[in-house]
């Protein structure tokens, strides 16, 4: 049998097998809660449209963020420009 490394031993010192079981059960419970009940009249393809809307919203955030950062840089570079005398 292979000897456990020091790091493994460290892990086992803090977590008992019961802890591992409880964590696993918690993960499974969360995933179980995310599972969908059957909707007899739900359009099974509508989730793809909903996902597209969600990812478009995310794209919108990126778009706005990029624009703000761009404007900020523009303002900063303009601030550093030497002023011309008239």
């Amino acid at each position: 049998m292979e000897k456990s490394t020091g790091r493994d031993m460290h892990l086992y010192r803090f977590y008992s097998p019961l802890d591992f079981l409880l964590i696993t059960l918690q993960i499974l419970a969360v995933l179980g809660a995310l599972e969908q009940p059957a909707h007899a009249y739900a359009d099974p393809g509508s989730g793809l449209l909903a996902f597209q809307i969600l990812s478009t919203t995310f794209a919108g955030f990126i778009f706005i963020l990029r624009r703000r950062v761009h404007q900020l840089f523009k303002r900063m570079t303009e601030g550093f420009k030497p002023k011309h005398s008239v």
Partner: protein
């Protein structure tokens, strides 16, 4: 195709008149369609061979327009394509959609049924699939259809081993719920299936009852659509199947019953025969990786290559595509041909309906013993079928009972096939064909060039 033509598209219908492929565009949609077909973008795609060349036959204001499409040599369906062809068709769909954005257009249908293959190249054939894009909409409305009909079948093939041919059962592809129960937890939460299966499934409940379509600035709309197309292309790349080994994919290299001198003699016979008869359209039955399809193409033939082995057909397609040869490899079985499917069994024609009388020459090399022994089809029935497909020529390889491959296929039932002598072969053949040339290889196999009895 149904006699009255296609019926799903509210903008028009496609129908055949003899050998001509015509499309009627209904009056209210005629004007924008004609404007689109006359645009530089459509003309460029037609010249590049990415969209089917189309000419306007009739265009009168207020009336239905009539278009004629250039005929594709052999129409094929996605359930007959190799994995590489699927990816290529999907890639063309995304390319055209992205290029159309620059002209203010967008693809409103994104299904493999809008693609046919001309040789190894995919061609977009549904010219009514483009529409003017709402500049304030950040959505690509055909995205869900693209996922259902391209990405989920590819995902099911790559991750679950479901054959792509199974899509014959699903006109509109798969939905996320079809795949989800069969995916491991890890696969479900890893990219790209997380975005194609898991999250859409979780969002289905939210979507129930209708979704509000957002309206945004033109700049943001263009940014969102291009970003979606980029991520869709990334998903396609990660679902691109890698070539696997199969029973037949390295057959040519490993066929122990063939010495290299026999291979050479066989290739010489086939080349000599093809140079003599110069067929314009060739069908290679049991083409494997396409050694003889390529010889036929080199001799000026436009080749359709059928094989039941997915990997061998895919390799054939890859070589044809790389070398730009007029070869269309398809996954098709001479003994169990693709049936007619769709409404009234008349939307997609059967393999034999499409092949009947369409080839000047049919190659049946190293395939006859499989049809006779494995598929148990009588020799006379095989020649009858061959006579319906070929208008004139056939090159056939006859494998004697003493051949190791024949012996192996018999699986101890040799006495059942003891009647299959060369004399029997010639007798069955002579009812429909006249022998024009014959050559015997050192391994005992014989090659025949035959011509149909008029």
């Amino acid at each position: 195709m149904i006699a009255s033509g296609t019926f799903r598209d509210p903008q028009g219908r496609l129908y055949q008149e003899g050998e001509r492929v015509l499309r009627e565009v209904y009056p209210e949609h005629a004007e924008p369609t004609l404007a689109w077909l006359r645009s530089p973008l459509a003309k460029r795609w037609m010249e590049q061979g990415r969209m089917v060349p189309t000419r306007v036959l009739r265009a009168k204001s207020g009336q239905a327009a009539l278009l004629e499409h250039e005929r594709i040599v052999f129409p094929s369906y996605p359930w007959e394509w190799t994995p590489g062809q699927w990816v290529q068709a999907a890639s063309l769909t995304l390319d055209l959609c992205e290029e159309a954005l620059d002209d203010g257009l967008i693809l409103k249908d994104a299904t493999p049924l809008n693609i046919l293959f001309s040789g190894p190249r995919p061609v977009f054939v549904d010219v009514l699939s483009f529409e003017r894009r709402d500049p304030h909409s950040p959505l690509w409305i055909a995205y869900a259809q693209f996922v259902r009909t391209f990405l989920l079948p590819l995902g099911a093939y790559v991750h679950l081993g479901w054959p792509l041919a199974a899509t014959m059962q699903r006109r509109d592809g798969y939905v996320p719920a079809d795949l989800a129960p069969f995916l491991s937890l890890l696969r479900r939460w890893r990219s790209p299936l997380r975005s194609l299966v898991t999250l859409p499934r979780l969002l289905e409940r939210k979507a129930h009852g209708g979704l509000r379509r957002p309206q945004v600035s033109e700049e943001l709309s263009a940014f969102a659509v291009r970003r979606l197309l980029r991520s869709t292309r990334k998903a396609l790349r990660s679902l691109t199947p890698t070539a696997r080994e199969s029973r037949w994919s390295d057959y040519t290299q490993t066929a122990a019953h063939y010495k290299s001198s026999d291979h050479e003699a066989k290739q010489q016979f086939v080349r000599r025969a093809l140079e003599r008869i110069r067929p314009a359209r060739v069908l290679d039955v049991g083409a494997n990786t396409g050694v003889y399809s390529r010889i036929a193409a080199e001799c000026g033939g436009n080749v359709v290559a059928w094989d039941t082995d997915v990997q061998a057909a895919d390799l054939n397609w890859r070589i044809a595509q790389r070398e730009n040869l007029p070869i269309l490899p398809l996954i098709a079985d001479f003994a169990r041909p693709t049936p007619a499917v769709g409404w009234q069994n008349r939307e997609s024609a059967s393999l034999l309906d499409r092949a009947k009388g369409k080839f000047d020459c049919v190659l049946m090399l190293g395939v006859l013993h499989h049809l006779l022994v494995t598929d148990q089809i009588p020799l006379s029935a095989i020649f009858e079928q061959l006579g319906e497909i070929s208008t004139r020529w056939a090159i056939i390889e006859w494998i004697p009972q003493e051949d190791a491959q024949f012996d192996e296929l018999c699986r101890g039932r040799q006495e059942l096939y003891s009647y299959l002598s060369e004399e029997y072969f010639v007798q069955a053949l002579s009812r429909r064909f006249i022998v024009r040339d014959r050559s015997q290889l050192a391994n005992g196999r014989t090659l025949w060039l035959v011509e149909a009895v008029l």
